[in-house]
C-alpha cells in the first residue's frame, strides 16, 4: 500500500560515480547527488546523457558508487537488499519458465518455499501471466517479458522499485496499461512503497507522478512535487494570440502545443505585450526554467 506520500523512505547522500575511460558503453557520470526518495511515484527526468540510467543503476547496486551513501530512513541500513530494478527492455531466461524463474528468485531472496509458491501464484495472476507461466522464457513476447519483470519485482519484497524508461516505446493504450498495473499493484498489501521512474514524457509525469527529480550533467537540479516544479515558472507563462518567433531572447519559447487559437509562451520579456494573458504553469515550463536558470 502506498502510504503517506510525505514520508521519506531512502536518503541518498552525495552520491558520486565518475567512470574512467571512453567509448560508447561508458556510463554517464553522477556527481554529488543528494536527495530523498519518498513513498509514491517519483519521476526522474532530464536531458539525454544527464546520468539518469547511471543513477538508477547506482541505486540498484549494479554500479558501486565512488563516494556517497544510500541508506533507508529511519533505520540507516543499506538499500541494496530492498531494491528492484527493471531495465527498459527486460529479458527472460530462454529455458526457464516464468514460474521457475520467480520461484528461484523468491527462494534466493530468502522466502520460504510455501510462501513463495502462493506469492508467485498471486503475482502471475496479477500480471496476467497465468497462460504462459509454464512455457520456456524464450517464447515470451516483449510485453510478457515486461509483465514478468514486474512480477519479479513483486516477488522480491522490494521497498523501492526503479524503472528505466518503461514506457518510451509504448503507445498510449499500452502506456495506460503499464500505469494501471502499477496502480493495481501498489494497492496490494506488502507491495513496494516507492517507485522511481525515468521518463522523457512530461505529459506522463504530470498525469501520474507525485514527485519529480530533475537531473542534468549528473547533478540534481530540482527535487520536489510535480506541482511545485510547475510553480518554478510562475509569472513567466502566458497565452499569446499569435505565434511568437523570437530567437534572440533566450527565455522566449514557442511551445509546440496550443489550445484553439492560443499559443503557450514562456518568456522573461518585460514589459509583457498587452495581447498576452497569464496562464497556469505546467511541469514543462518548470522543467525549462529549472534547466535554463542554471545555464545563464
Amino acid at each position: 500500500m502506498v502510504n503517506n506520500p510525505l514520508s521519506p523512505l531512502v536518503q541518498v547522500r552525495r552520491l558520486t560515480y565518475q567512470p574512467r575511460g571512453t567509448g560508447r558503453a561508458r556510463a554517464m557520470p553522477v556527481t554529488e547527488c543528494s536527495f530523498m526518495v519518498h513513498a509514491g511515484f517519483t519521476a526522474v527526468i532530464g536531458p539525454n546523457g544527464a546520468g539518469k540510467t547511471t543513477l538508477l543503476k547506482l541505486m540498484a547496486g549494479l554500479y558501486r558508487p565512488h563516494r556517497g551513501s544510500i541508506r533507508t530512513v529511519p533505520d540507516h541500513r543499506a538499500l541494496t537488499r530492498q531494491v528492484a530494478y527493471v531495465p527498459q527492455f527486460p529479458g527472460a531466461y530462454p529455458t526457464l519458465t516464468p514460474r521457475g524463474f520467480l520461484f528461484r528468485l523468491a527462494v534466493w531472496n530468502g522466502s520460504d518455499r510455501f510462501q513463495a509458491t502462493s506469492r508467485i501464484q498471486t503475482a502471475l495472476a496479477l500480471m496476467g501471466l497465468e497462460a504462459v507461466a509454464d512455457r520456456p522464457g524464450r517464447t515470451l513476447d516483449p510485453a510478457q517479458r515486461r509483465q514478468l519483470a514486474l512480477a519479479a519485482v513483486w516477488v522480491q519484497h522490494a521497498l523501492v522499485v526503479l524503472f528505466d524508461e518503461p514506457t518510451a516505446t509504448l503507445d498510449p493504450v499500452h502506456r495506460l496499461a503499464f500505469w494501471q498495473d502499477l496502480f493495481r499493484w501498489s494497492h496490494q498489501p506488502d507491495s513496494p512503497q516507492a517507485y522511481l521512474i525515468a521518463s522523457h514524457r512530461l505529459d506522463e509525469v504530470e498525469a501520474h507522478c507525485d514527485r519529480v527529480l530533475v537531473l542534468e550533467h549528473g547533478r540534481i537540479r530540482y527535487q520536489g512535487t510535480v506541482q511545485s516544479l510547475a510553480e518554478c515558472a510562475a509569472g513567466l507563462v502566458y497565452w499569446s494570440p499569435e505565434r511568437v518567433y523570437d530567437r534572440e531572447e533566450a527565455m522566449i519559447l514557442e511551445h509546440y502545443w496550443s489550445v484553439g487559437p492560443r499559443f503557450a509562451v514562456l518568456s522573461e520579456r518585460r514589459p509583457v505585450p498587452p495581447t498576452w494573458t497569464p496562464r497556469p504553469p505546467t511541469p514543462w515550463d518548470g522543467y525549462v526554467v529549472t534547466l535554463r536558470g542554471r545555464r545563464q
Binding site: 539525454n48 495506460l176 505529459d203 498525469a207 507525485d210 534547466l291
Partner: protein, 317 residues
C-alpha cells in the same frame, strides 16, 4: 496535396491487407495519430514506394506517385521510423552528402547543413562518426537531412522517438516552421504531439480513419464522459482497460454516464483519444450483444443508476 484513392495496401510476407479501398485527401500539414500497428507508417511509406503491393491511385500534388513511387520520392522527403544511418560517416559528412545528392552545390549544401544543424542543436556532434552518437542525435540527423531536401512534402514517422524534452521541442518547432512553406505529414503515437498542427488531426485505427478534424474537437468528443473517482471511493481498480491512475491515489474513468460518487472533469485531447478508441473497440461487442438482447447494451451504456464503475462497460466481453 496528398491523395489516396481506393488504395489497398499490404505486405507480401504476411498476406494481411492493412488498408482496403482506402481514400483520403490531405491538403495541408496534418498529424496522423494512431496506436501501434494501425497503419500510420504504412500510409507514409506508400507515398515513397517502399511497399510492394499497392492497388489504387496515390497522388502527390496531382501527380501519381507511379510504380515504385519514383515521383513520390522526388516530391516528398521522408523520415523513416528507424534510425538507419551509415556508421562510418560523421554527422556533418552525412548532411552535406545528402545535400549534394539532392543537387546542391558543395558550398551551399555545407551552408544549409550547418544552418539546420544549428536549429536542432547538433553542432557539437557534427564531427562525430555516426557509430558513436546517441540515438537522439541520430534521430535529429535524420530529420535534419529530410528538411535539407527542398521537397513539396515532408513526411515524418515518429519525429521524437528517443528525444529528451528539449529535443522534442526543437524538432516539433522546426516542423512547425517548415509547415509555413510546405506540407508536413507527421505520423505519431504520442497524443501530446498532435498539437504541432492543431488544425487537422487524423486518428487511424486498424486501417480506418476514425476521427478527422481539428485537435480540440477530439477532446470535445469526450465531453461528459470523463470522470474523476475520489480516493475514498476507489476501492478496487476497475476490471476493464478504460481508466487511468491520477496522482494522489485518485483515478480517472471513461464512461457513458456518470457513476455514483464520481465527478465529471474537463477532457483533455488524450481523454478524447481514449474515448474514441473505446467506442471503436467496444462497438463489435455492442453489436453482438444487441443481436442477443435488444435492450442489454443500451442499458449498460446509458442507464443512470449505473452498475458500479468497476464493471465492464459492455456485455459480451
Amino acid at each position: 496535396m496528398l491523395e489516396w484513392e481506393g488504395v489497398s495496401l499490404g505486405y507480401h510476407r504476411t498476406g494481411r491487407k492493412i488498408f482496403e479501398e482506402f481514400s483520403l485527401t490531405v491538403e495541408d500539414s496534418t498529424v496522423l495519430l494512431g496506436p501501434t500497428g494501425s497503419g500510420k507508417s504504412t500510409l507514409l511509406a506508400s507515398i515513397v514506394g517502399i511497399l510492394p503491393e499497392v492497388n489504387g491511385i496515390i497522388r502527390i500534388g496531382q501527380r501519381p506517385v507511379g510504380r515504385g513511387g519514383a515521383a513520390g520520392r522526388q516530391w516528398a522527403s521522408y523520415v523513416p521510423g528507424a534510425n538507419l544511418l551509415p556508421r562510418e560517416l560523421t554527422v556533418s559528412e552525412y548532411l552535406t552528402e545528402i545535400g549534394r545528392l539532392d543537387g546542391m552545390s558543395s558550398a551551399s549544401s555545407r551552408r544549409h547543413a550547418q544552418a539546420v544543424a544549428e536549429r536542432l542543436q547538433l553542432t557539437e556532434s557534427l564531427r562525430v562518426r555516426m557509430r558513436a552518437v546517441s540515438c537522439a542525435t541520430k534521430r535529429k540527423t535524420l530529420i535534419a537531412a529530410a528538411v535539407l531536401k527542398p521537397a513539396e512534402w515532408l513526411l515524418v514517422d515518429e519525429p521524437t522517438s528517443g528525444l529528451d524534452p528539449e529535443g522534442q521541442r526543437l524538432v516539433l518547432t522546426l516542423l512547425q516552421a517548415e509547415s509555413r512553406h510546405r506540407g508536413v505529414l507527421v505520423a505519431t503515437r504520442q497524443v501530446a504531439e498532435t498539437a504541432v498542427f492543431p488544425d487537422r488531426l487524423l486518428l487511424l485505427h486498424d486501417g480506418q480513419i476514425i476521427f478527422d478534424g481539428p485537435c480540440p474537437r477530439l477532446a470535445e468528443g469526450a465531453q461528459g464522459h470523463v470522470f474523476r473517482v475520489p480516493q475514498k471511493a476507489v476501492g478496487e481498480a476497475p476490471s476493464d482497460r478504460w481508466w487511468q491512475p491520477m496522482p494522489g491515489g485518485e483515478i480517472k474513468i471513461y464512461r457513458q454516464a456518470c457513476p455514483p460518487s464520481a465527478i465529471g472533469i474537463e477532457p483533455t485531447v488524450e481523454d478524447g483519444y481514449f474515448w474514441a478508441l473505446l467506442n471503436v473497440e467496444s462497438k463489435p461487442d455492442l453489436e453482438r450483444a444487441a443481436t442477443d438482447s435488444p435492450e442489454g447494451p443500451v442499458e449498460a451504456m446509458t442507464s443512470t443508476n449505473d452498475p458500479p464503475y468497476r464493471e465492464k462497460i459492455s456485455h459480451g466481453q
